[in-house]
Amino acid sequence: MLCRTANELYWMARHIERAENTARLLDVTYRMSLLPYELIEPGLAWAEPWAVPLITSGLATEFYQRFQQLSAENVLRFMTLDAGTPSSIYCCLRAARESARSVRGAITSEMYEDLNSSWLEVRVQDYDRIQAHGVSEFLEWVKMRSHLFRGVTFGTMLRDEAYHFIRLGTHVERADNTARILDVKYHTLLPSAADVGGAVDYYQWGALLRSLSGFESYRKIYSDVITPRRVAELLILREDMPRSLHSCMNFIHETLEVLCDANSKEIERAAGELHAGLHYGRTDDIIALGLHEYLMEFLDRISALSGEINRHFLVPTY
């Protein structure tokens, strides 16, 4: 397959996944922002949750260059329909559709038509309309479009190299994004230190689980109160959770085994190493290191791996 084609397919998948995860990130932020901060310390923290998505996605500097004030509305405008924010939902869908358009011969017509429909719809959205219908409805729509695209891909595409690069892009992006969403809790202020383990803490973890579609699974598996330790276990180490880091690394490792040949053993090894860390990792060790520290290290390593994938398959220099 052409390197350029592989590159476009990989980024098409990453952008769709990123649109979905941006929606998830905003969703958890929105849920957390509804929790009762101002009751305890009025005037201080009500806007605080809206800084978190900017921090975890590395967009804070850009945001403050464009907007004077941190507010729910400004952050939502910036991250949903803003044509100038590279990872806004609008830009992700546009980029995914542009990629698909430039390699539409490599995907099925159903896939292109689905992506094209998403783009045609988001293109005519405006913020006031989203606001009027409720932000959640829009975020829900983004998630559903992503689910639909994955379903169409799964249901129509030949299991060829193109399919593998799409799968690779999806899971590299998801691994990165799950780690970032998990890190949201670290950045989210509690009303006071005394509230650790309290009601607000509990609701925050709940909101985070919900945004990663993990709330119901948590209940099924643990049938118990929500604790940070279990949340970490569920979304990092459990391989039967489709958004967990372990599950993502299963897909990445498996896919790279198919794509790599004698010239690309190093990528396969690096992915295997990262995968083994999750496969044999222990929750206790993560907690001992600190969840935030663990996630930061994971983000570095997944980004290094994606750099290797780039150099070897997507933009080679021969």
């Binding site: 397959m1 350029r4 690069f165």
Partner: protein, 468 residues
């Protein structure tokens, strides 16, 4: 030429026999159902993304070409004549191209003035003396045919560079079969869907070596107006769609950059103009070309379809000589008519045309896409005067033709079914043999009275049926 307008569907005594079945269907189908089908077609075309880009338009840079559901129907007997005439014409044009890049026999015989060919901006000196596989230069020819007067066919233009539109022919057929299966069930409409197979077969036939040749479609990229078609054809043929950046040349062989390393390419169906193919050989500022491609081509390690330098044969200043080419190379009489053409470089033809501007169509010799032309009867006095000044300044840049009263076909308009002028572009393929699928792209001028069918100027398309 006669002022009567030939209606494809109706003669004075009633519906023509080959349109009878369709006319009956039209009569008994409720207009609400037809409206719903038209709406369905539009939505489907949008979703599938069959769009073309319009240069210089902000915002809506992707537009749909309007599709009309009334088919253009050609009876089998007429088609057989057209088919023979088109094959004859394209054979002669390929022989002409071979000749002017080798022995120059037709020039030495004085059939065509030498400077008209060798001094033509489209003539590529670099091609002189170079052999191409099978002597084929125009592998794909999109020959524009119109019908005028009492229904005679005329060839208006031979498009031998990178003719486009064939994807619309295929998509229009798919759409019609989906919307109106009952019409196909009851009539013997000859299929066109095998065009991509035929194209691939022809491209493989001109590969430089006998082993399993690798074919690819070379596109300028996703922002080209015909990008949809490039991607469509690559997909239908099951070959790679490549851009210049995907290819590189080493030891005169062309390779694609793939995820498994370099991979050789033998035939490029290129949809990039000559000038932009290779920055080392042609325009140095080309960002969409492949450095070294021309050298690989000269070395015979890659075949380009169409060949470089075909533009000289479809130039409007060469067009008047095509009937002579047919006589010269094939010793046959031309089956299809040329439109009578005045060459304004000749002083007496110029003065005649300047007196009769109001009746004529004047075209730029190198123009294309319906731009740079004057339709005399439709133009205002001021437009004619302005064009007259341009002609007088550079008469050799123009030709003139009588304003043909192009045939019309019933077409859905805002005020219901009404006659609109149409043309026809069949796609003639040359490889081991010369062949074409029965049909082509029918373009329709949607504005009342307009004779300009180009999609860039508000033209639409129709499905074209050849009935056995």
């Amino acid at each position: 030429m006669s002022r009567t307008i030939y209606d494809e569907m109706r003669a004075s005594e009633g519906v023509r026999a080959h349109y009878q079945a369709f006319a009956d269907w039209l009569d008994r189908t409720p207009s609400a159902k037809i409206a719903q089908k038209r709406d369905e077609a539009e939505r489907a075309f949008h979703r599938v993304g069959i769009t073309f880009a319009v240069y210089g338009e902000d915002g809506g840079t992707e537009r749909l070409i309007p599709f009309d559901i009334v088919p253009r129907i050609i009876p089998g007997s007429e088609w057989r004549t057209l088919e023979r005439g088109l094959k004859q014409r394209v054979r002669a044009l390929n022989l002409f191209l071979h000749d002017i890049y080798h022995e120059h026999a037709i020039l030495k015989a004085g059939v065509i003035p030498e400077e008209r060919v060798l001094g033509n901006a489209q003539y590529r000196r670099e091609m002189q003396g170079m052999d191409v596989p099978g002597g084929i230069y125009a592998h794909i020819a999109g020959v524009d045919v119109v019908r005028a007067g009492e229904g005679e066919y005329y060839v208006l233009e031979d498009n031998l560079r990178v003719p486009s539109g064939v994807s619309y022919m295929l998509e229009n057929r798919k759409m019609m079969m989906r919307l109106f299966p009952e019409l196909f069930a009851t009539q013997a409409i000859r299929p066109v869907e095998h065009y991509p197979d035929l194209l691939l077969e022809n491209l493989r036939a001109v590969a430089p070596s006998a082993e399993q040749p690798e074919v690819a479609v070379l596109t300028p990229g996703a922002y080209n107006s015909a990008y949809f078609e490039h991607a469509f054809l690559a997909q239908q043929m099951g070959v790679e769609l490549v851009e210049g950046q995907d290819l590189f040349v080493q030891n005169d062989a062309v390779y694609m950059r793939t995820t498994r390393g370099p991979q050789r390419v033998h035939v490029l169906y290129r949809r990039v103009d000559d000038d932009f193919l290779d920055p080392k050989a042609f325009r140095a500022d080309s960002m969409i070309g492949v450095p070294g491609l021309f050298s690989a081509y000269r070395a015979g390690k890659v075949t380009l379809a169409n060949a470089i330098g075909t533009g000289v044969a479809d130039d409007k200043s060469i067009y008047p000589f095509v009937p002579e080419m047919i006589r010269f190379y094939l010793t046959e009489e031309p089956i299809l008519n040329n439109v009578p053409t005045w060459q304004l470089r000749n002083p007496d033809e110029l003065s005649y045309c300047l007196e009769h501007l109001a009746e004529l169509v004047v075209k730029e010799v190198h123009g294309a896409g319906g731009y740079g032309m004057l339709v005399g009867p439709a133009a205002s006095n001021a437009e004619r005067a302005a064009f007259r000044d341009r002609i007088v300044a550079q008469p050799d840049k123009y030709i003139a033709q009588p304003t043909l009263s192009l045939s019309t076909c019933p077409t859905f308009t805002e005020s219901g079914l009404a006659p609109r002028h149409i043309d026809l572009r069949p796609y003639v393929l040359s490889g081991k043999t010369v062949n074409l699928v029965p049909g082509g792209l029918t373009r329709v001028a949607l504005r009342e009275g307009s004779l300009v069918v180009n999609s860039s100027q508000g033209g639409g398309t129709k499905d074209t049926w050849v009935i056995a």
